[in-house]
């Protein structure tokens, strides 16, 4: 599997999915014109990863400055895939990075955690 990478734009986050290390990063702002189009390749990559997930580790760092409601739906699909990968035998972790003052973002992480029954490590970005 190849490493998947999308560069950051003013409306879309930096994304890097490394199959060798099992490290996933999503960083920046997610306000795409077409969220489904943006997130579909990420979900496709995760689907491939799932096929070889047994006894692997998948560590995901999400550091979103902001995401709109359409993206929130797509992110839920991404996290559902992570749950599926976990069920396929991988050890998964999600680190949900927030600025200390950003209650809305902290709350959003907790909402996903409750919806999915998957622990989200809420982490505060050091200044």
């Amino acid at each position: 599997m190849e490493t998947f990478r999308i560069d950051k734009t003013s409306n879309t986050p930096f994304v890097q999915l490394d199959a060798d290390t099992g490290r996933m990063e999503i960083k920046g702002r997610s306000v795409p014109e077409n969220p489904l189009e943006f997130y579909t390749p990420i979900n496709d990559w995760l689907e491939h990863f799932k096929a070889e997930a047994a006894e692997r580790v998948l560590s995901m760092d999400v550091e979103l400055e902001y995401f709109n409601t359409s993206s929130s739906k797509c992110l839920l699909d991404v996290f559902k895939k992570i749950v599926a990968i976990q069920k396929s035998g991988a050890a998964v972790e999600i680190n949900w990075w927030c600025e200390e003052f950003d209650d809305d973002m902290i709350e959003a992480g907790k909402d996903y955690q409750d919806l999915l029954g998957l622990p989200f490590n809420i982490k505060i970005i050091e200044e």
Partner: protein, 184 residues
Amino acid sequence: MPKDYSKIYDEMQDENFVLSYKGQVGFVQINSLLKIIEDRLETAETNPKTRKKVYNIATECFQNLSHHLEKNSQTIGVKGLAIFEAYEEKYIIATGNYVFKESEMKIREKIDYINSLDKEQLRDYHRQMLANESFSDKGTAGLGFIDIARKTDGNIRYEFHHLNNELAFFTLRVEIIRTELKNI
């Protein structure tokens, strides 16, 4: 006789009106409007929490406007109104667009329901909609008003000015209090 632009200048003199825009509200236009707001907040708002919150709410409000124009109608569906006001104690974000009677009923129902919920109920409703609703044919997640309500602690106000039996001008208005945020 040529138009007297000084009158327009004077009308726009109210410095609290940071942004007042009427026109097409597609992806490109909205990005430009949000950039203006972001730049203004960068220089005028010292509290990073307020800065981020206001920008996020403006994004959701303007995208909401863009998604909910009556796109099937050539006469009323193309343009919208986007307003951003900054005061010492608060910010106001407002949007306006023409809607048909049928849409009015749906919007009223939705916002009235959201406004009737307390914080915890709103959180539950949000999670329920996030988990269960699929994308609409407008490409939206049906979460816009809920998200705005959560971020503004239920401070969504709206009005419909009726033009006739079929048509109304819908205004959405949210206030974000600066002092309250500073105390948190």
